[in-house]
């Protein structure tokens, strides 16, 4: 196993190194009028956008979008790698920085530099070759149910607080093996603490609970679903969702966010190698950076737009917070270490 694992890492690294050399060779013609064509967009299952946005796209460009959803982000990337010789779509949206390098290493994208890229926050642009274009971002952060915290206890304000015994038995996280926020939070602890291995050992000593996925953490063990734990790994955008979808309506979110604990997930779109409609694919990526699209994103997917010029909806502004200093790790470093980190995490937390 170990040998296999090592060779896997090495192959990954070599592929990453080689990948950079090859990029410029893949020249694809994105010019031409795509009007009247159909462009196929594959996304993860959580993707959603208002009908009016697609109607606007078709009205502007004459291009029709055919949507495909393909499991969660990890499953989607795995599928794209398996089918790279005969991709099911022209554009992929939803690959995030935790999986980005895996996609790049496997050469599933062709570079495309959108003219609208200028308006995007610079720190979101992670691929110099523009094989992927940042579309939106969100922060995976520790959430807490304000009224359910142990009595007389102030809300946690740092990652270290969670190892304090006043929060013993209060924290529930997801396994990074099976959950995307779980992986993001592990990454947050890797850069956000002095010694992440010791940190997790302390969390275990403080009776942290681990679930397989977000749903069974948030609705199983966290207060939101009637559970006994008041602190959970979720998103910075979870509090606005708790307000917007509250029953009965509320003015303030019942949950708070530990802004010190956030890992930034950036979601990208990319033109899939082997596309049959390059011009249409380019038009779609351009469109995804327009305000029409960007301003629809917060309330449909509860993430922040990548474009600086997009205006946020008021209920989002009021209840959503953006972490000032989110943890960010280079995708190549994530890809090179992910399996080793996860294996180590399993040893510390689950064994």
């Amino acid at each position: 196993m170990k040998k296999l694992f090592l060779s896997f890492v090495i192959v990954g690294l070599v592929a990453a190194a080689c990948g950079d050399d090859n990029d410029d060779g893949d020249a694809i013609d994105f010019r031409g009028d795509p009007s009247g064509t159909t462009v196929r967009l594959v996304t993860h299952d959580s993707f959603s956008i208002s009908d009016a946005v697609w109607e606007a796209f078709t009205a502007e460009t004459g291009v029709t979008v055919e949507l495909l959803s393909s499991g969660d982000a990890g499953e989607m990337v795995s599928q794209a790698i398996l089918t790279k010789d005969a991709p099911v779509a022209d554009v992929m949206f939803g690959i995030d920085n935790t999986f980005l390098q895996r996609g790049l290493d496997n050469d599933i994208f062709v570079p495309y530099e959108s003219p609208n890229l200028d308006g995007v926050f610079d720190n979101l642009k992670l691929d110099d070759n523009n094989r992927v274009t940042p579309i939106s971002f969100g922060d995976v952060c520790v959430n807490y149910w304000i009224d359910a915290l142990p009595t007389g206890t102030a809300a946690p304000s740092t990652l270290e607080d969670l190892t304090d015994e006043r929060f013993a038995g209060q924290f529930v996280v997801q396994s990074p093996e099976t959950s995307s926020p779980g992986l993001a939070f592990l990454l947050a602890t890797i850069t956000g603490t002095d010694d992440w291995e010791q940190y997790w050992a302390d969390l275990v000593a403080n009776d942290v609970s681990v679930t397989a996925g977000w749903e069974d953490a948030y609705y199983g063990e966290f207060t939101a679903g009637g559970g006994e734990r008041s602190i959970v790994v979720s998103y910075a955008s979870s509090p606005p969702a708790e307000v917007i979808f509250a029953d009965p309506p509320v003015d303030t979110a019942p949950t708070g966010v530990l802004l010190d604990s956030c890992f930034r997930q950036i979601e990208f779109a990319g033109v899939l190698a082997g596309t049959e409609n390059a011009a249409g694919a380019a038009a779609l990526i351009d469109f995804m950076l327009t305000n029409t699209y960007q301003e629809d994103v917060p309330l449909t997917m509860f993430v922040f737009p990548a474009s600086q010029s997009a205006t946020l909806p008021p209920e989002f502004v009021e209840h959503a917070e953006v972490a000032a200093n989110p943890q960010i790790i280079d995708p190549a470093e994530i890809e090179a270490n992910r399996d080793a980190w996860v294996d180590r995490w399993v040893e510390i937390v689950l064994s």
């Binding site: 499953e75 599928q79 089918t83 005969a86 895996r102 609705y219 029953d247 009965p248």
Partner: protein
């Protein structure tokens, strides 16, 4: 029973299930395993065999599946007896209701179990069921109860109860009569049901991860971990080979058990059985505790709002929320259409295959018997990824066709039809067929008038399963790209649950309850369509 030669038209008919299973299962699975094992694949298999962790995983996978199967059979057999003793209408009602768990996503059921564990004190103090092996076992019994009740209950109805009565009169207690006379004659059906339960438990994914907790690993979760989380297709394929080999061996054993000593069925007259009222009550209580508890939690949640109870979550199903590409009602309609199509496919393929399994040439018989059951015991990842990479070139680029979804559902539905129909066909007294032949029926006519008429009972019970399997999105389809327009109810439910907010959660629960009602009513309708055969049996 000896193989019958000269059964007209069978060879041609056989092609249909053969092509189906070949194109949509064997070819894709072969492709994905082949690609994974190309190069140093053999080493990967050897590495697996050497790895202590993987040996533990295999042992645990096997162990939990065996225990789940035994528990399910032990708990559900008395219920099967009770069901067999009911009037045919009551029987159909009960058989429809027990199918409900099949359509519920694990994450929903897990939530209901958690709440139930908390409410009943089973997850507090000394007893903490959550994230234990027991939680896995209880959930497997919950999901598979229907398999035993339906498959065995159906076979039980066909049994001549006078033999058990003869035993009673000869001095056997009720238990002895059951053990000595009824049980041996139910063995084929029990073998069949056990095989299905075993395969479901062997490949169970959500239950292991969510109820068992992230510490438990089975072959199925390991295949997912390597194929998806690590994109290590080689190890995933090696694990898939281990899974396929194990399943193949077990299915071979179970079909052998099923074939041994076929019980002969005469068309039996129903007579009232004595003293079953107490038993009926006990079985009713078990079923209510096991199935009713978690389901009641879901129903309660679906009506519950922040301020009390009303229908608002149900009313909301008709309008599209931003998280969904279509209203939940559209998703229900899509699911229903998929399920109808998957059931139709499963019935056509399953019925043809069953006839071949019982009457065909022996080599083909074995091939169909094993091949058609395999999808039930094969990882959803293997099948899903297989379809994705094998059916990718014109003219067979079927990956994004809408019908590949019901076809993939039918892959799981066909084994149900075969496994419920074959024991019934085998149990037909040869003299009945001979009588029909003597009365002037051609071989194909005999098949239609005798085998299909009597087997229809099993086929429809299997069809009910196929319907439930499809409605619950069982199997490989979560690994296939799909159009949001074809949003199905379980996918919609999952999406509603993936954004915080009580409104969305309430709507998800309402959707789950509608799905439950939909499957119960549909299965009832399917099984009511048997018409004349039920009257005779």
């Amino acid at each position: 029973m000896r193989a019958r030669k000269n059964i007209g038209g069978l060879d041609a008919l056989m092609l249909i299930p053969a092509v189906f299973i070949g194109l949509f299962f064997l070819f894709p699975v072969g492709t994905v395993v082949g690609r994974g094992l190309a190069g140093d694949g053999l080493d990967a298999v050897i590495d697996l065999a050497r790895s202590q962790r993987q040996r533990d995983v295999l042992r645990f996978t096997f162990w939990q599946a065996v225990v789940s199967t035994v528990l399910t059979v032990v708990i559900a057999l008395p219920a099967a007896a009770t069901v067999a003793g009911l009037s045919s209408r009551a029987r159909r009602v009960v058989r429809s209701i027990v199918t409900v768990p099949f359509v519920l996503p694990t994450v929903v059921v897990a939530g209901a179990f958690d709440e139930l564990f908390l409410a009943t004190g089973l997850d507090a103090g000394a007893v903490r069921l959550r994230h234990t092996v027991w939680a896995i076992l209880i959930a497997h019994v919950f999901f598979n109860y229907a398999v035993v009740v339906r498959v065995v209950g159906t076979a039980w109805v066909g049994l001549d109860c006078r033999q058990a009565e003869a035993a009673r009169v000869l001095g056997a207690t009720r238990w002895q009569a059951w053990k000595e006379v009824t049980l041996p004659r139910l063995r084929p059906a029990i073998a069949s049901a056990s095989a299905i339960v075993f395969l479901f438990s062997f490949t169970s994914f959500g239950v292991v991860l969510i109820l068992g907790g992230p510490r438990r690993a089975t072959l199925e979760t390991e295949i997912y971990r390597y194929a998806v989380s690590r994109t290590d297709l080689t190890t995933a394929a090696a694990l898939a080979v281990v899974q396929l080999t194990t399943v193949l061996g077990l299915v071979a054993i179970s079909t052998w058990l099923e074939r041994r000593r076929p019980a002969t069925t005469r068309v039996a007259r129903r007579t009232r059985t004595l003293g079953s009222r107490a038993g009926r009550r006990v079985n009713g209580l078990v079923a209510i505790a096991l199935l009713g508890g978690p389901l009641a939690v879901l129903v309660e949640r679906s009506f519950s709002t922040g301020t009390g109870y009303d229908l608002s979550h149900y009313e909301a199903l008709g309008t599209r929320v931003r998280q969904l590409p279509a209203p939940a009602t559209t998703a229900l309609w899509n699911s229903l259409q998929h399920a109808v199509m998957a059931t139709a496919i499963a019935l056509v393929i399953g019925v043809l295959a069953s006839v071949v399994v019982v009457h065909g040439r022996s080599s083909l018989r074995r091939f169909f018997d094993l091949g058609l059951t395999l999808p039930l015991g094969t990882s959803a990842v293997t099948v899903g990824f297989g379809i994705l990479i094998a059916l990718d070139e014109p003219p067979i680029d079927f990956r994004t066709r809408w019908w590949i979804i019901p076809v993939a559902h039918a892959l799981v539905g066909v084994p149900f039809v075969v496994r419920t129909m074959v024991p019934l066909l085998r149990s037909i007294d040869p003299s009945i067929r001979e009588a029909a032949a003597v009365l002037g029926a051609s071989p194909s006519r005999v098949r239609r008038e005798i085998d299909l008429a009597i087997g229809a009972r099993g086929a429809l019970v299997g069809g009910g399963f196929a319907f439930a399997v499809s409605l619950g999105e069982f199997g490989a389809t979560s690994f296939l790209p799909r159009r949001p327009d074809d949003l199905t109810a379980p996918v919609a439910l999952f999406r509603l649950l993936s954004t915080p907010g009580d409104l969305l959660r309430g709507q998800a629960m309402a959707l789950a309850v509608v799905l439950m009602v939909l499957v119960a009513v549909s299965v009832f309708v399917i099984e009511s369509s048997r018409g004349t055969t039920e009257g005779a049996l």
